[in-house]
Every structure is written in C-alpha cells, then in structure tokens.
C-alpha cells in the first residue's frame, strides 16, 4: 500500500477569545490507497477542522494551521500557494459535504455544475465534457442521466443530490476523497444506499477515503481503519475490528457503549389506563389558489393509535412520513382535518381554543431543537413557572415545584436564575423536560427530542425520559427516525410511511418479526447491524 495522505503533527489554532487554544492539536494519521479511514468524534472534536485543513478551506481569519504537515502524495499542502492548492482541489482531492440540500448551487443545472470541474481543470471541449458528465451520472447509479443533467437541484431528492455531489467529486478521478458526514442528513434507507455506493466506487477506483462521522454504526459498515478524536486530539486509532471489539481509550469505549443496541430488551406488556387515543386522524394541507387548480398534500391519513399510562409508544418514520404532523395534531398546534383525539376520553380534535386551553396541562411536548425551545430572553425559572401560573398556581408554589423538578432532571436549583444560552444542548433538553413535567401532565410527547444531541448526551437524556415515565406513570409518545433509539425506549412502535401507518406492534415483535416490507427495509438499512449482532453474541 502506498500513502495517499499523511497528516503529521497538525495543529490549528483558535482565535484568542475561544474556550480552548487549539481547534486541533498534534493530529497525526494517514490514509493509504484503497482504504477508508473513518474519523469519529462528537461536536467540537475537531474532525471537520482536520478535513477542511486538508482541503485548504479553513477560514483564515480565525483558524490558522500553526504546526505540522499535510502531505498529499508527498507534496506538503501547507507550503503550497493559493493557485497550486486550487489546482489540486477537485483534481487530486475532492470533498463531499453533510448537507446535500445546500451544497449545490440552486440556480445552476446540476449537469453544468458537474461539468464545471472539467472547465476548471481541463481544457476539454463542451460536447466531450458533457459526455463525461453523463457517464459519471451513470456511475453513481442515477436513473435517466439526460433528465438529471438538465435538472436544477431543487428538483432532486436529498439522496440524488448527494449522488450528484459524489459524481462531481469523483469526475476527475482524485486520489483522495474527503466525505464530511455525507449521510447524516439523509434518511436511513437512503443512507444505506449512499454508503454502499461510496464503498463500491472506492474499491473499484482504488482511491483513499477520509470519512468523517459521529456514528459508530456507519463506522462498522464501511471503515478499514478508525481515528477517534476528542476535543481536538486523536485519542485512539487502529484497524476497525480492533477499535470496535477492544477499544483501549475510555472515551472510545464510552462512545461505543452509548450507541443504543438495535436489539430491544424484554419489557412487560403495558397495562395502564388508556390516556390518549386517536381515531382516523387526518391532516390535509391544501394550497388553493383562487385561479386554477389547488394542490393537496395528505400529511397524515387515518392514523389511529392508543397510548396507555406508563407506556412509551414510538412513532418511527423517515422524513415526510407524517410522524411530526401527528404529534402536532395531537397537541393541537395545528388543527386536524378530520378524526378524533381523545385525551382521557375527551375529544379535543375540534375543541375551541379557549376551552382547550384549560385542558392543555394534561399533555406536554419536548421539541427537537434545544436551541430554539426556550425563550432566550427569559430566565429558565420564568420559562418553567409560566405554565403552572397560567393555571392559577400561586407564584411561590410554582417556583417550589420548579426547584423540585429541575433537580429531578439532574440540574442544580440555581439553574433557575440563569438564561438558556448558559446551558449546553443536553442541559436545555433537560430544562424542557422540567418545563413539561411542572404541568403535571398525563401525556408527554417527545418529538425527535434526542435527535440533535451527541450520542453520549443522547443516552443520558433517554435514561432520564425512561425514569420519569416510570416515576410519574406518564404516557410517552416518542417520535423518532432512529430505530436504535426506538428499540431501547419504546414498549410499542408504530411505523409510518407517506402519512400512513404501515405497521403497529410491540417493539420485540416488530424487531424480531417485521411484517410490512417497509419495516423490513428500515431494519435492514440500520447501519452496523452485523457488528452489533456479533458483539452481542460474544457477550
């Protein structure tokens, strides 16, 4: 094997006012020909900074490489001038990014964007250029290359756009491909296809791939070697089997243990009183113009579910499946088009807002984005006591409850006087849980409540949710796209696709014997299945 990329002692400094001196420090690893090296780490680990340093795409005003060397086939990239580096970018090394939705120029046809590669780096004539592009589109297995060629990015799905990015990156047959979380923004089924595409192209072309991810499932799926980063340092590296089977560094172990298993644990069948029922819930969005046709989108169709106290019911689905629509209809944040929502036997589906307000304490919600769920201008305490005081709880009583609950969710009582920006994402989700609990609800909806969190934080918040469910006999409606998370926390699961329920069942039954083809597809797509099944068997 010959070295494609060697990074040696790379150190990138941060601006003076930052919380640490270096974005990355003394990073050393290499990528050989025909291998995939995964760089794994959580937010702030410096994995992306490393990738951008190689490409020479760091913002020079704030991030400056101060020591070390980056050698691409024996040329030190840090010593090259702008023009030389520009020539290497695209031709010898390429990069694909996390957000396929925004990585392509929205006002240019994708074919032209791919062809731009040739325009920059080779003097090829236009007809030959386009011919190459069409072949590249076939290589990434896009159907109807001619049509795709002249499409604009918004006319393509996320997975198709990522394929376009890959076609573009590989057009000039670079020796190194850098992939920065290329599947994180995609649905699982799409992710599985893109991963296998990258792997196939890599092995047929023999290039080196530097693959950045936070997901050990993905690592297990495609990596040859693994580099684990934490706070800007490389804490462990080695062949994939070695790192996954016998991690040496405690942080690596922590990360691996935090990955929820896809094997559901045994749980007793829930027997609590029914707290929430929906009957044939429908939500239709129609954009009716007063001239011409109107278009309708059926976001949720005939969704019926039952949720008991003390039970966690999962709604699992990919983007556009309607899972959040159902949650928002139940909360009456949007009005259902038809159907019933029974809370403790009372139908609220088309209750008037001023009557509904008096029932609102019974059902609470925790949202996905911890950074937007709390009013940044109000102290945490004020956000928590707002609800009870709406229901006539005296102010000092409300604050007493807030103090109790903030400790229940694992924060200290003095947190109440602080403001949201002083907390991390995980802490904010805890605050949101406290805000929900202070209302003494019977139903708690968690709408992708752990999806924006790092794995290690994610598992802690999941544990918290599970313990409050038990202690408060809550009925929890848990909405997620993540099968692993669902496997661990849910008693029963509803699988949704395109606004419809395709399968309902107890978690163990659904995972061991999926009935609907779509459920089977979802399960098969979960990355790293083989690895976890294997490691479980060993234990």
């Amino acid at each position: 094997m010959t070295g494609v990329l060697e990074i040696e002692g790379l150190t990138v400094s941060l601006p003076a006012a930052s919380d640490r001196e270096f974005a990355i420090k003394d990073v050393t690893f290499n990528v050989e020909e025909s291998e995939i090296v995964c760089i794994v780490g959580e937010s702030g680990s410096g994995k992306s900074v490393t990738a951008f340093s190689v490409m020479g795409l760091l913002d020079r005003r704030s991030l400056v490489p101060v020591a070390g060397a980056i050698r691409l086939q024996d040329r030190d990239l840090l010593k090259l001038g702008d023009r030389e580096l520009r020539r290497l970018r695209g031709e010898r090394m390429s990069m694909i990014f996390q957000e396929p939705m925004t990585a392509l120029n929205p006002v240019m046809r994708v074919g032209e964007q791919i062809a731009e590669m040739h325009e920059i780096h080779s003097g090829m004539s236009k007809p030959r250029r386009n011919e190459r592009v069409l072949r590249a589109l076939e290589d990434v297995r896009l159907p109807e290359p001619d049509r795709i060629f002249s499409s604009y990015p918004h006319q393509l799905s996320g997975g198709q756009r990522q394929r376009i990015m890959i076609a573009m990156a590989l057009l000039l047959e670079p020796v190194l491909l850098i992939a920065d979380e290329p599947t994180t923004a995609l649905d699982v089924t799409t992710q599985a296809k893109i991963l296998s595409l990258i792997k196939d192209l890599q092995s047929s072309r023999g290039m080196g791939v530097m693959f950045i991810t936070h997901d050990f499932g993905v690592v297990a799926e495609i990596a040859n070697r693994v580099v684990v980063m934490q706070n800007g340092l490389v804490v462990e590296q080695g062949p994939v089997e070695e790192v996954l089977q016998s991690p040496k560094h405690p942080y690596t172990r922590l990360l691996i243990d935090a990955v929820p298993s896809i094997e559901p644990p045994d749980k007793p069948a829930p027997s609590g009183k029914v707290a929430l029922e929906t009957e044939r819930l429908n939500k239709v969005y129609s954009s009716a113009g007063w001239v011409g046709r109107s278009s309708t989108v059926k976001a949720a169709q005939d969704v019926s579910l039952t949720l008991r106290r003390g039970e966690t019911l999962g709604i699992v689905g990919e983007s556009g499946s309607g899972k959040s629509t159902v949650a928002r209809c139940i909360m009456r944040l949007i009005d259902p088009t038809s159907g019933a929502v029974l809370i403790d036997g009372v139908d609220i589906a088309d209750m008037r807002q001023n009557r509904l307000r008096h029932l609102r304490h019974q059902i609470q919600i925790v949202f996905q984005d911890p950074y937007r769920s709390l009013n940044p201008r109000r102290s945490v305490g004020k956000s928590i006591v707002e609800g009870p005081m709406n229901f006539g709880v005296p102010e000092d009583e409300a604050w007493r409850r807030a103090k109790d609950l903030i400790e229940v969710v694992g924060l200290s009582a003095d947190s109440l006087d602080r403001y949201p920006h002083q907390f991390s994402g995980g802490q904010r989700q805890r605050i949101c849980i406290a805000r929900a609990l202070v209302m003494e609800p019977i139903i708690l909806i968690a709408d992708e409540a752990v999806s924006a969190l790092d794995v290690s934080v994610q598992s802690q918040v999941l544990d918290l949710l599970d313990s409050i469910r038990r202690n408060f006999q809550l009925a929890v409606l848990f909405i997620t796209h993540d099968l692993r998370v669902a496997a661990q926390i849910c008693d029963r699961i509803i699988v949704m696709q395109n606004g419809r329920v395709v399968e309902t069942g107890s978690t163990s039954a659904l995972f061991s014997d999926p009935k609907a083809p779509y459920t089977r597809e979802l399960l098969a797509a979960a990355p790293g299945r083989a690895w976890q099944a294997g490691s479980r068997a060993e234990n």
């Binding site: 970018r89 990014f97 990585a103 120029n105 006002v107 731009e116 780096h121």
Partner: protein, 314 residues
C-alpha cells in the same frame, strides 16, 4: 405559468383600488374646506364655489365616488383648475425628460452599485468595504437638492465643464447636447440610488458567500473571481432586483426635486408648478399616475424572479 401571471396581474387590482380610494378619501377628509384652502387667501366666494364644483365636491359623496371611479376607469385623471386641460394631456407633454432621467439614473446606478457592493461584500471588514459603506451612509444623508447645488457649484460654476441647467431632447437636439445636460442630474439622482443598491448588494452577496455551495465551488478549485461572478451574484440577484423596484418610489421623489434644481421641464416641474398654483387636480392625478407606475414596475420585477431563480415556479 400563464395562470400565475394572470393571477399576479389580477392581484394588483386591489392595491390599485386602495390607492384610488385613498386618494379619493384624502380630498374628502381634509380638515376644513379644501376648496377654500386651494383657492387661497385672496379668493372671493365665487372662486371658492367654482373650485368646489371643479373638484366635484358639490354632490353627495357616493355620487362623487362613482363618477370619479368611472372617470379613472376610462383613464381620466382629472382636469387642471387653471389651464382647464386634462391632467393626462399635461402629463403626456412632460413625460419624456422624466422618463429619460429615470432611465439614465437606473442604468448608471446599477452599473456602479452592483460591482461596488459585491466588492465590499467580498472584502467585508476591509478598508474597501468601509469606504463603500461610508459612501452609502453618506448617500442616504445628503439631501438630493443640496447635492445638486454642490455639483452645479463645482462642475458648472467653478470648473465650467457642464451646463448649469436646462434640458435638451435627444430626439430634437441630438444625443450630444442631451448627454451634456443629463449628466449632472443623473449623477445627483444616482447617489441615493447607488447607496441603496450597493448596500443591498453587499448584504445579499455577503449572505450568499456563507452558503454551502460557495464552499463546494471552492472545493472544486474554482477561482475566487469566477465564484463571485457565477455562483454568488446570480444567487444574490433577487433581493437586489427587489430593492431596485422598491427604490422606484425613492426615485420618483428624487426626480421631482432634481428637476426643480436643474430646471428640467418634466413631471417634477409639473408638480412644482401645481404646488405654486394650488392646482390640486394635477397633484392628485400625478399621485395616481406615479403609484400605478410603481405598482406596474414592481409587478414586472415580481414576474422576473423566475428568470433569476428556477426554484420560484408558478
């Protein structure tokens, strides 16, 4: 597509109706007796009564409105009190200089402001950026007519390069004299327009430069100049075009003042003469005329978005 255009054209009707209604109500709700105010301090009772008749204030409000609206529908913008000629005819006579001044101003401003704003955005935080932004703040702060007089003072009176005042028609007097006379007014009027457009260009390009696809273009090895030209500017176009449309209102106001400074016999001068002569129907007619122009230009700009951004589909 056709349906959208039709819908968009139809949707200007309520806006135009609001303008018409507002202009109608303005005269009727004016405190005191507008006829007396318009007639002036030395008017006789007959004068006031004659003006009241001419303004159509004698009948019941409902009859007045129907008659007025009927007139509007047929393109009747009213009749001048003093010259007794239709306002549309007066507008027709004065249209050319105003139209040409507006055109030269828009062309000149866009040609200067877009490159300037793009440069400022690309070099955000640098000396170039600060100079451009300083110019922009200055442009918003100096009144148009003061600027006009400063230019007349330096270019015409001191340096004697350009004529002081007046207007030459390109159709009757030839292109050369036209350009000589239109240069100073164009520059005067352009300053605020350049300030507006360069500011919006800077903001819009700055935002686009943060986008992921700019990073993609860099990762491809594209040069910075071409990134600006091909990827940034086209994506930044919609807000820039929008601000040009909104700026038309500013331009119309500026035209009135500039024409008065440079003694150009256009619509602005018509306004001014009407103010001096207290000829309200002319002011009212011009108000309607300019509003409709504004609405139509912004309609066209709205429809042009598809050209700049394929995501906007109808």
């Amino acid at each position: 597509m056709f349906k959208y255009v039709a819908m968009r054209v139809l949707s200007t009707i309520p806006v135009m109706a609001v303008v018409a209604l507002f202009v109608f109500v303005l005269l009727r709700l004016a405190p005191g007796d507008p006829a007396a105010v318009i007639a002036g301090d030395y008017a006789t009772a007959e004068d006031v009564e004659r003006i009241r008749q001419q303004l159509g204030l004698a009948d019941s409000v409902f009859v007045q409105f129907l008659r007025w609206l009927g007139g509007l529908m047929q393109g009747d913008l009213g009749t001048s009190i003093f010259s007794n000629r239709p306002v549309t005819e007066l507008i027709g006579q004065r249209l050319e200089p105003t139209l040409l001044l507006a055109l030269t101003t828009i062309v000149f401003s866009v040609a200067v402001a877009v490159p300037l704003g793009t440069l400022a955005a690309y070099r955000a935080g640098s000396a170039v950026d600060r100079v451009v932004m300083l110019f922009s703040v200055g442009g918003f702060s100096v009144p148009v007519f003061v600027l006009g007089y400063i230019l007349i003072y330096t270019m015409s009176m001191s340096l004697k390069i350009l004529p002081v005042q007046g207007y030459k028609s390109p159709f009757e007097d030839g292109i050369g004299p036209f350009l000589m006379h239109i240069t100073l007014p164009t520059v005067t009027l352009s300053v605020i327009f350049i300030a507006l457009i360069s500011r919006m260009t800077r903001a819009s390009v700055l935002e686009v430069l943060e986008e992921d696809y700019i990073r993609t273009a860099r990762a491809k090895g594209q040069s910075e100049f071409r990134i600006l030209l091909r990827h940034a500017l086209r994506n930044a176009a919609v807000p820039i075009v929008t601000v040009i449309g909104i700026g038309i209102a500013l331009l119309i106001g500026g035209v009135v003042v500039t024409e008065s400074v440079y003694n150009i016999p256009g619509l602005g001068r018509l306004v001014l003469d009407a103010v001096l002569a207290r000829d309200y129907p002319i002011i009212q007619g011009l108000m309607l005329f300019f509003s409709f122009i504004y609405i139509i230009i912004n309609l066209i700009i709205d429809l042009s978005y598809t050209f700049f951004d394929p995501r906007i589909r109808y």
